[in-house]
Symmetry: C2
Subunit: 190 residues, 2 copies
């Protein structure tokens, strides 16, 4: 009896751990993007800012948002309708520069990136993530001076991050369910 009870206890612990893990933001991001955590953060194995320089990031974000603001898909274009294109460009390249080994331009001006919270006003669906990534792939391909290795690292980071934000977006609807109890999340504060 005793060993059976221990075994059941261990199994349910493992099951609980598995379920808990699958519910986490990063597990969802990996599952939906198809990009493993290690590959997503391979941007940190090299200093992409030093390699590429600020102007390349500015060019990339300008290319990207030129495509986004001209998107023939109105449902996607409209997500950005309340922001000025030049603000969107600056927010993006400052964040990229900071996150990929450069000076903390974004935080000096706007504070913590707080990626999920700052995307809260926007409908970050699976479809929107794919459309964002489509434009970013085109923008990367259309930006000179980004070598193939850096492109792969950056796309893996972008793809994982896009679906991390989709997972974050789904927290909004969870939060609106009144039956959602405090403490059922596996998130822990810093």
């Amino acid at each position: 009896m005793r060993s059976k009870s221990i075994s059941v206890s261990l199994r349910s612990e493992t099951e609980r751990e598995r379920v808990k893990k699958m519910q986490s933001l990063q597990a969802k991001a990996s599952e939906w993007s198809g990009v493993k955590q290690d590959d997503a953060f391979a941007i940190d194995d090299t200093n992409l800012f030093q390699k590429l320089g600020l102007q390349t990031f500015i060019n990339l974000s300008t290319n990207f948002y030129t495509r986004v603001y001209d998107d023939e898909e109105e449902w996607f274009r409209s997500i950005f309708a309340n922001s000025k294109k030049e603000d969107a460009i600056q927010n993006q390249y400052e964040f990229f520069a900071q996150r990929m080994g450069g000076p903390p331009l974004y935080s000096q001006r706007r504070g913590h990136p707080a990626l999920i919270a700052r995307h809260r006003p926007f409908p970050v669906t699976h479809r929107a993530a794919e459309r964002w990534l489509h434009h970013m792939q085109q923008a990367l391909d259309g930006t000179t001076d980004i070598d193939a290795d850096s492109k792969i690292r950056m796309m893996n980071f972008f793809r994982h991050t896009a679906f991390f934000l989709v997972a974050g977006d789904e927290l909004k609807s969870q939060n609106q369910q009144p039956q959602c109890k405090h403490g059922t999340s596996n998130q822990t504060p810093v």
Copy 2:
């Protein structure tokens, strides 16, 4: 008539800008914490990780959470009741190490810090921020090998960040108001 109309238009633009600015997360953080943005991110003017070393961050977070989990104030202690103390310690020192110039330990294990979203399950009130800061000040003072200059930089960062999270916490209640319209926020996506 014409110059009057232009003047009114400019004044309302300035007013709108002022209101918009005051509503931003970082403006609220500065106002409530009393720490200017530049002072909060003076942690980036030097490499605190290289200066202090990982073990100092581990000691700081261990000191901090030992105080928190033993807090005589039950309302504060209970916020952490669903997290294991050792997990809370690791999450914190990995984030601090990463943010203050060290290797990206936090992101390798858990992805983007996403500070506001990861604090979503917790009631991050003004009172809770002050209690957190009280314990952190004591933990800093009780950790050897942290020089006075680093302490000031770190406390300014912690104080600003704590109130940034209070501002983020208030987004939750905004979101629950059904009359809240898409696009009224001044947040822009990356």
